[in-house]
Amino acid sequence: MKCLWLLVITVLCLRCDTAGTKPRRGRGSMWWGIAKAGEPNNLSPVSPGVLFMDPAVHATLRRKQRRLARENPGVLAAVAKAQYAFAECQHQFKYRRWNCSTRNFLRGKNLFGKIVDRGCRETAFIYAITSAGVTHSLARACREASIESCTCDYSHRPRAAQNPVGGRANVRVWKWGGCSDNIGFGFRFSREFVDTGERGKTLREKMNLHNNEAGRRHVQTEMKQECKCHGMSGSCTVKTCWMRLPSFRSVGDSLKDRFDGASRVMLSKADVETPAQRNEAAPHRVPRKDRYRFQLRPHNPDHKSPGVKDLVYLESSPGFCEKNPRLGIPGTHGRACNDTSIGVDGCDLMCCGRGYKTNTMFVVERCNCTFHWCCEVKCKLCRTEKVVHTCL
């Protein structure tokens, strides 16, 4: 049955493949389904046992992912919690033609629609933000001690220790102590879990790997170290520090910046040749560490080659104006727009020139909020008139 399903997907993919690149990538992103599976009330993401047992969830995972989930109890709940990555994606693209809409498919791959079959910018963003979400969520879960296998890595050194900056020999470099937001675990586990199936052989797999890695890097580099000095009369004899995960909003913001400046890539010459050689030498698989060691070449030779934190894509985005069932694009019909804006959220661009209708409605919302010490916020309910523009 499963094979049949796979076959159907593959066939569909092949059929909708217009650009000529083969988008077939196995079920690498099926795990998106479990993040969504946590949402309806048939499953409770807080009880990992239940989540793990559920066959519907099980079916969205690859064999290796199932093993990882079995070996690390509590991990699935954390991955399921990473659904805030979807919310973040929708927040970042609230005012764009493509608004990161998800559907209620339990089958993870179709969560974002067939757009992920195309190697375009939007797909790059989806991969990066979901991978970042898993990293973030796992790091947090590790701190909250809801993953048993994640132990605090007391010997871990922060990035500052590796940089020579400020590392004068006579000033001891501060060592990371405590369990605050264990990014190391999140990073490593996300590589194992999210990148399962992306063997890094085809160009599309390399693109996915690169974007997944970029998402993780964004979480990692935005970790903040907060410190405080203690000592006689304001000196700094004792330093206490803790690491702090960035808010996921700031990760989303920086990924959105990279989305806007994403680079279109192709495989570098050396890499095109190596797979063939490698296949002869080691026919089975690329060693795991080597998976991340490739250089993508910019499509336009005048551009810089993409860095680890940049998003990369292979083909230009389709138009998102009209409904396109073949690519799973819902179109911008019925989307709200801003009639005064001249940007992408403005009615002109959003509705692709089709025009828009204006409705006036009354909404009840909280207003005149006051802060009462401590710690309560009291609000009144106000009825306000709102003018809503929607695309035709």
Binding site: M232, S235, W242
Partner: protein, 441 residues
Amino acid sequence: MDAEDVYAENTWTYLSMCTEPTVYEGLKFAKDILFSNLLLRFTIQFLPLPHNVRHSLSLITGVYLLYNNIGSAIFWTIGLTTGSYTMITVLSWTKSKRRSLFVSFTIITFLLLCEIYVLNPKMWQQIRGIQMIAAMKIISVAIELDRNIYNNILNPVEYGGYIFCPANCILGPWMSFQSYNKSLEVRFLCKRWFSIILINLILSISFLVLSNCLIPWYIDDDMPKWLIAYRDAQAFRMSHYFVSSMSVLSMVSAGFGLTNDCHCELKVTRPSYIEIPRSLVQVVVYWNIPMHQWLKMYVFKTFQPYGQFTAILITYAVSSLLHGLNFQLSAVLLSIGTFSYVEYNLRSKIALALEVCCLANPCLKQCTHKYKKNSLLALVVNSIFTLITIMHLAYLGVMFEASFSVQESGFSYLHTMSKWENLNYFSHGLVVFMYIIYLMM
């Protein structure tokens, strides 16, 4: 579901995120201190060692502890120690009568030069407290030599053991050579000792958590600026209590500062007298009691013959010079000096005029005033002064709260002034106003 709600950090997550590493780091720091001090104490306790071996043991454990904490910056402390010892010996040969003056002057100059010429301000911020404690010990030895308190000059091992004593070479407090020497000879062991160590450990870690996590959190950033100033100053005070109780911990674990019946007689600071202060004068006294004693014993008493006011002025000058040539600390110390001077005089005038018990220091025995300390008038007047003092403390302490890079590499002139400007130089204005009242009364 609104996206904002998903990532909103609740209070508990924030606190646990900060508390856990804070406690861990605090314990890690305490671990080193406890280890070397307990090593010293147990060796003295169980092995009958000759005098000089005991002192060299103190020297070795102290150097080990210091090296563990500050790394190669320890050479600055070693340099200070050997240099000063050479100087004291040379001056003794020449039969100079003013050894202490020369030594004090040289040491303070050395500290100032360090501050100006040590290339790395980060390192200086790290070792400043350690150098200060060492300087205080050296000056006290020099003065006591001049006063002929020791029979002959200390030998190098005694001297080194005293300066590098692991019980107080990092966080203080200052202790005299006699009490150091006596404690090294005393043997004791009792159950109470362990509980004193444990209590001080818990106390210091609690102050650390308060300073790092709880106090910065309980007043929000969008509150009135005086509340924020109060919060920041309080976080700094908690940090000071942490350092003080940690220093008590290290002293007690090495067996110093204990009475014969195993009670802790060492008090470094009195949080209750500072958080709810009677007067600024009391805050100055109870902020760091051993330091206060040192200043009184070696600076104030030396200069008392030149007049009360001169002696006070010189005491403040020496105190701020010991802290280094730092505008912020000097400004704070000078302000405290003038504030407490005005307060002291104003209060004695008010006490005289209204016949009420409201002096800066509580009347010791029988109060001669008409209105005793529990009378309504006395309570009202004293509460007003308490409030003014709390405000002064917020005003003076606010500048120690800074971004970490500033904390780490020292405070600048601009930083101080911007903090005070933000509060409109209110306390300085108030003190001028109080002084005018004092002159008119």
